[in-house]
Structure formats: C-alpha cells, structure tokens
C-alpha cells in the first residue's frame, strides 16, 4: 500500500441536504488498479459520496482528491479520464440506445469503436430501440456499454447491475475483470454480495454517513466470529467456559462464537475435554454483512 497511488481519497467528507446530514465524515481510499467494493445499507450515503466524487454535488467539508485533482474544480479534465454508470438510468425519450452511447462517448472525448461493437454484442443489446422502449435491465446495459466503451482510468459505478439477469451479471463481471487487467481502477457500489466478493480487491462499508469498515474481504472476516459446535467426552468446567467467552453449554454439547483469529485458542481449550464431534463454521458473507449493516451493533473488531 504505497501512499500516493490512491486514485480516490476522501477525508472527513461531509454533505448535507438542507438540514439532513447525509455524509458525516467519509474516509475512503481507493488504490490504483484495484476494484473497490462500496457497500452499505439503503440510505447510507453511497450515491451521495459518488456524486460528490463526480462533482455533481459540492462537498460541505473535508477533503476530496480524485485522480490527483479536485472533483469540483477540475471537472472537465478529470471526467475525460473517468466514466460513470448510474444505478437509475434515465434515457432520452426519443433517442435510441445507440445514439445515447455515442453522445456520452463523444462528450467524454471519443470512444473505442472496436470496444463498442464488442460490448454491444456481448451484452446482446439492441441499439436501435428508443429510450422508453428499453426494459430496466436493457437501460442499464446502455449505460454500462457507454461507460466501458471508452478506455478510461477510472470507472465509477453506482449499483451498475441492478436489473441485470444472471447471464448478463456474469458478462458484466468478466468485462470488469478485463478492464481491471488493463489497468483500470473501479469503484463499485453494490448490494449484490456475491458480485462484490468475486470482483472486489478491497471493500469499504458505509453506514449512516460514515465508513465503518474497510479492508480486504479476509480482513473483514477476521473481525467477525466463527461458530463452533462440539460434542465433548465430559462437560466443560467453568474456567473453560469463561475462556471460550460466548458459549452455550448443554450437557456435553457446546456451541461457541469465537473470533475468527482465535479458533486455534478455542481448540486448545476444548481438546482436553475429549472432542467426539466438531463443526467449525466460518462466518458466511451474508452473516458478515447483516452484522455490519445492523444499526445498533457499532463496535467491530477486538
């Protein structure tokens, strides 16, 4: 993690809509060449953060750097180097998808013809339909093709795959992997955990206008507990129960929640009592996120 290689860096970013404070201090750091997952419950402030990064909204406080520039002051310069996929794509009524792709491409400073053709084919998009005639998923595809058809350094995507079918979802994942292989950086806001898991090098979790957790998936997993079920030869003594921390004992059966990094310690406590059966369940992804999304459970980590 070399400093200075960050493509996006915000510190203490705040933003209010009228009296409602949507961002209460967002510290986000996206490294060059990585796919960065941006997750959080509804209304947490993902889209707001992204719109500040795009210079559509002006930050109230904190610092924001994007591609070594200021997203508000250096709009044109920066936007030549990035592309955006909104989560709610609204196309121009009488205009076809093909025309919309070309318009957005030329406004960005040109698009790669070869890429355009290839993407339209892979996403099975009909570019001759008009705005209103596209289904939700197809509107989304228009925006994805428009963004990916120009070779940019940075892709900012706000729930890009909402409405895509599983087949197209997998095409999308391939395409993002390819962009990454070519050196692009991606900020990907998403509610689809499987997508974040398979694409993201790093994740940031936002809740209630603050980043509450940031790191690789493995690092995030370390902060959550693993479930251990064991059937023992003889009942645990009270010292052992205390050592396990959060444990339920039912005769010779034990169910314990231990931190993922301390599974080994737990084994040492249990072994002397003669383990006859054992299951260790690592935290499932959804469990991990549900816990992090939970509003009252703020403390994470040891």
């Amino acid at each position: 993690m070399v400093t200075g290689s960050a493509v996006i860096e915000t510190e203490g970013l705040t933003k209010s809509y009228g009296t409602f404070q949507a961002l209460k201090g967002v510290d986000l750091r996206v490294e060059r060449g990585q796919v960065h997952g941006f997750l959080g419950p509804n209304g947490a402030g993902k889209s707001t953060t992204i719109r500040v990064l795009l210079g559509l909204l002006r930050a109230d406080g904190g610092t924001v750097r994007l591609l070594d520039g200021d997203p508000w002051d250096d709009v044109t310069e920066l936007h030549r180097r990035l592309a955006y996929v909104p989560g709610d794509v609204s196309l121009w009524p009488g205009m076809t998808g093909g025309e919309a792709i070309d318009l957005l491409g030329s406004l960005r400073g040109g698009l790669d013809e070869h890429r355009r053709t290839e993407l339209i084919e892979r996403f099975e998009l009909d570019p001759t339909k008009r705005g209103r005639q596209y289904s939700k998923g197809n509107r989304q595809k228009v925006a994805i093709v428009a963004a990916l058809a120009s070779n940019v350094e940075l892709l900012i995507m706000d729930e890009p795959t909402s409405g895509l079918d599983p087949l197209m979802e997998s095409v999308f994942q391939d395409v993002v992997q390819e962009a990454k292989a070519e050196g692009a950086t991606v900020l990907l806001s998403s509610h689809i955990l499987a997508e974040a898991e398979s694409l993201a090098d790093k994740l940031s979790l936002i809740r209630d206008g603050r980043i509450v957790e940031s790191g690789t998936l493995a690092e995030l997993r370390d902060h959550t507990s693993t479930t251990i079920h064991a059937v023992l030869g003889r009942p645990l003594d009270s010292a052992a129960v205390a050592a396990l921390g959060d444990a339920q004992v039912d005769g010779s059966r034990v169910t314990a929640q231990v931190e993922s990094t301390r599974v080994g310690d737990a084994m040492e406590v249990l072994t002397p009592f003669g383990i006859s059966s054992l299951t260790v369940t690592p935290p499932s992804l959804e469990h991990l996120f549900l816990r992090l999304y939970e509003p009252d459970d703020t403390d994470a980590g040891p």
Binding site: T96, L107, H191
Partner: protein, 548 residues
C-alpha cells in the same frame, strides 16, 4: 363498464390530495382577474366620460379585441368585467384543466407511478375516469369561487355567476379535449402540446374572426365562440353552457374509447426503431435535437400568427373607421393616421414577442425537467463543463424566439406594406427586429431562475406573465410610466416615429446580461438535483444476493 372503473373513488381521493393543489394557482389567477376588474373599475373610470373614453380606447386598438373579444358594454362594472375576463379567464381555466388531466394520466405513466396503481385493484378506465372527474370538479369549483368572490367584490349576482360558470364550461370542454390528446400523444409532453395547441388555435381564431367581423356562423363552429355567447352582463344567456356540457361528454367518450384501444405507456402512434449510431456529439446538438419538435411546431404557429396579424394590420382603417371617437381624434389632429398605424404595429409585434417568449421559457424550464429526471447527471459525468451544457440550451432558448419573431414580423410587414396604408416593408421588419431584445430579457429572466433558484420553476414564467399583463392591461388602466417600464416591451422604440428612442434597447439588454450572468453563475455553482434512492429496492436485493 362498472368493472373497468373499479378503484376510481380511492384514486380520485389520492389524486385530489396530491395534484389538486396544482390547480390552486389557476383558481387564484382567474379569480384575481375577475375580482380586480370589479374592484378597480369604479375607481379608474368613475364617471360616464371616463367610460366613454375607455370604450374609445378599446375601439381604437383592435389588437385588444384579438385577445379579449368583443366589448359589448363597457359602461357598467359587470360589462367591463366580462369583456376583460371572459376570454382570458376561460383560456386560463382550460390550461389548468389540460395540465391536470395530462398529469394524472400520461405523466404518471411516464414516471412509472401509474404502473404501481395499475397493478393494484384498479379497472382499466379508472385512471382516466379519476383524472377527468378531478378536472371537471376543479373547473366547476373554479367557476363557483370566481363567481362568489366577484360578487363579494361588488359584481352583480347573475352576471358574475354566469361569468364563473362560463369559465367552468371552458374547463369542461378542454378536460374532454385533454382526455383525447392524452391517448394520442406519445408521452405527456406531446399530449400537452396537442391540447394546448388546440386551445391556442381556437382562441386566436375566435379573437380574429370577431375582430374582422366575420359572418356569424363562424362563432358557432368554434367551441370558444359558444362561450363568448353567454354574454354575461349584456344578455346573460345560460343555454350555451349546455353546449359546453354536451361537447365535453362527447370528447370524453372519444377519450375513453381511445384509451381502451391503446397499450399502457404508449400513445396511439407507435414509435419505429431508430438508428443504431448517433449523430449527436455535442451538447449543442443535443439541445437542438431535444427542441426540434417544438421548434418546428412553433414555427408553423408563427407563420399562422404572422398571416393573422398581418391581415389584421392591413384592415386597420376599416377597423378604426368604424369607431367614431377615433374619427374625431384624427379629424381634430390629436393623432395622425400614420402615428396610429405605427403604434398599432408596435403593439401587434409586442404581442408576437410575448408569445414568442413562451417557447423560449419552455426550453429553459426543460433544462430543469431534464435535471430532475436524472438526464443531466450522465452528461455532467462526462468532460462537459456545466456552462457549456447550460449555454447550449440557452442559445436555443434565445435563438428560437428570435426566429419566430422574425418569421411573424416579416409576414406582418409584407402584408402591411402591400396594402397601401403607409407602412414600408423596411419599417415593419425593423420593428420586429427592435422587438427581439425585449423577448430576450423575458427569456433571460427564466435563465436566471432555473440557474440560480430552480426549486420553484414556475417563477421562470413571471417574465411572460408580467409583460403580458402590463403590455395588454397597463394602458387601459392608465398605469404610470414607471409601472409600464417593468415590462421590457415598453422600451421597444416605435420605429415609425420621427425620433425613435433606441436607448431603451440598451437598458433592457443590460438587464438581459445581468439575468444571464446570474443564471450561469448559479448553474455552475449549485448542486445538481439528485433523486434519493428508493428505500424498497435494497433489502430485497441484499437477500437475493446473499442467497449464494
């Protein structure tokens, strides 16, 4: 039939609650129009001599008749009120009804709201039924409010109530027309344009045919002519209202028939597939493209307007000749025929200018509509600076009206100069050119509003409203010069005068520049409108994704 109307009642309730308030401004304006006439008349025209002078002034400016229709009797409060309010009030009520119907039908479909409703326990025709009932009810309520308030301010009971019900009748007829156009148009915008276009044509035809004293049957082919024939305060005919009810029933029946034929979210005219590649590569072309339809439609309208007004100017001597007071003034040397013609041309072209400002302001307001519909966001996420996007649209907003004024102005000039009334072709064209800066000021005001304070987009229309009110109503109310000077059109020099005051154009152009600067600064500095995410979407998605 009854099954297809299931759910109308709760829907009507919801509509009345959410969209009903949108009709309030129309009630307010029309009530103010009528009540203010009653209020100020005795005060401005206290005695018979003043009233005769008013009649002479109205008679000497046939341009007024074009908007207000015939002045049957200006010697009483109620007669004056019915002249001043009847045509305009009906026009405004009809506009309100049209917008209400379109909003509750097509606009809902465009936004996807209607889909939620349609999927509920809801008959096929209930949305149109609820929308129509709402507009009919709102028009009726407007009529009652106008009538009662006017009485309260001193209007005669029957005269005022008839006037109010005439407005309601106009609202009813256009509820019917809007229910038809809502089925034909491809989206809410074109549905509205069609209905408003119909209203505009009928309105103009009514004024024109009256002013040129066309044969009587022409009144009866125009539904707005029927409303003219109620003649509040000079005859009080109630029976034309029955015609209005009949018309709206027939139009609504057609609307319901068409609605049963068409698919949800589609107009009767199905769009064809378009080009797979785009030619629009700049915001400037995009702006042109988005306004292409309206520009073509309005150009046709202004050709028509040019002919109507031009023909009107050529007949000025006939129009003036029939007025005794004017004859006396000319004979006495108080005014010269050339002076009258020049002033008349200037008024006509100001009217053209005010009408031309409407599509200009529409273009500017559309920037905001695009913004709240999330269509500006993807453009601003490209390498397009904000000022450039705004400028592309502002150029269209200023340029299109310029062309419209020149089209209509040239036609007026050609017709007038060919008719031996002492108007040179050059004078007419020059007068049109001189009117253009005044149009720009009005449009520039909307540029300032949408750029700097877009939360209340209706404020963008203030310029049009003020110019209209001041230019047309100001002189008859003997407003002082400083009040008249609020309208940019007041500063337009009359080029046929020996010494036209060109400096006025400099002043209003400075104001225009200030408005534009405010608008551009605002648009560059403010947050773009963003739609907060829909709260329902996420949890379902979270669980769906977590299943893996």
């Amino acid at each position: 039939m009854s099954e297809s109307l299931t759910g109308t009642r709760p829907l009507l309730g919801a509509l009345a609650k959410h969209d009903g308030s949108r009709f309030a401004p129309w009630v307010l304006i029309v009530t103010a129009l009528s009540a203010s006439s009653v209020l100020v008349y005795p005060w401005i025209f206290p005695d018979a001599a003043d009233r005769a002078a008013l009649a002479a002034a109205v008679g000497s400016n046939p341009a007024l008749g074009l908007i207000f229709g015939p002045a049957y009797d200006l010697s009483t409060v109620d007669g004056f009120n019915s002249w001043r309010s009847l045509a305009l009030g009906g026009f405004l009520t009809a506009l309100g009804a049209i917008f209400l119907v379109t909003r509750a039908t097509r606009a809902q479909e465009d936004s996807g709201q209607a889909e939620l409703l349609a999927s509920g326990v809801m008959g096929r025709s209930s949305r149109l039924m609820a929308a129509s009932l709402l507009a009919l009810g709102a028009s009726l309520m407007l009529g009652l409010v106008v009538g009662l308030v006017t009485v309260l301010f001193g209007g005669g009971w029957e005269d005022s109530m008839l006037l109010g019900f005439t407005f309601a009748g106009t609202g009813w007829m256009f509820t019917g027309i809007a229910s038809v156009t809502a089925q034909i148009g491809g989206d809410s915008r074109s549905a509205n344009s069609m209905a408003v276009g119909t209203l505009g044509v009928l309105f103009l035809a009514r004024g024109f045919l009256y002013s040129v004293e066309a044969p009587e049957w022409t009144t009866w082919v125009n539904p707005l002519g029927w409303m003219q024939e109620t003649r509040p305060a000079s005859g009080n005919h109630w029976w034309p209202l029955a015609l209005a009810v009949g018309f709206s029933v027939v139009a609504l029946a057609v609307g319901f028939y068409l609605q049963a034929q068409r698919d949800f979210g589609q107009g009767a005219i199905a769009p064809k597939p378009g080009p797979g590649r785009g030619r629009y590569t700049t915001t400037w072309r995009l702006a042109l493209r988005q306004n292409r339809g309206p520009i073509v439609t309005w150009s046709i309208a202004f050709v028509a307007l040019g002919f109507v007004f031009g023909f009107f100017v050529t007949s000025i001597y006939d129009l003036l000749g029939s007025d005794l007071a004017v004859q006396q003034a000319i004979a006495g040397g108080a005014v010269t025929p050339e002076g009258l013609v020049g002033a008349f041309m200037a008024t006509i072209l100001s009217m053209v200018g005010i009408v031309a400002a409407v599509p200009g302001v529409q273009t500017v307001v559309r920037i905001r509509t695009e913004e709240v519909n999330d269509r500006v966001e993807p453009i601003m996420a490209t390498a397009t600076p904000r000022w450039r996007y705004y400028a592309s649209n502002v150029i269209v907003a200023l340029g299109a009206p310029t062309i419209f004024v020149l089209i209509a102005g040239t036609l007026v000039a050609v017709l007038a100069s060919s008719a031996d009334i002492g108007v040179e072709l050059g004078d007419g064209v020059l007068q049109a050119v001189a009117t253009v800066p005044a149009v720009w000021t009005v449009v520039a005001f909307s540029v300032a509003v949408i750029g700097a304070r877009p939360q209340i987009p209706v404020a963008a229309w203030i310029g049009v409203l003020l110019s209209f009110a001041i230019t047309l109503l100001g002189p008859t109310f003997n407003l002082p010069d400083w009040a008249l000077a609020i309208s940019s059109f007041w500063h337009v020099p009359k080029v046929t005068l020996p010494d036209p005051e060109w400096i006025g154009l400099v002043w209003i152009s400075l104001v225009t520049i200030v408005f534009l600067a405010v608008g551009f600064a605002g648009f560059g500095k403010r947050d773009l409108a963003t739609t907060p995410s829909t709260p329902l979407r996420g949890p379902a998605r979270l669980l769906a994704g977590a299943g893996e």
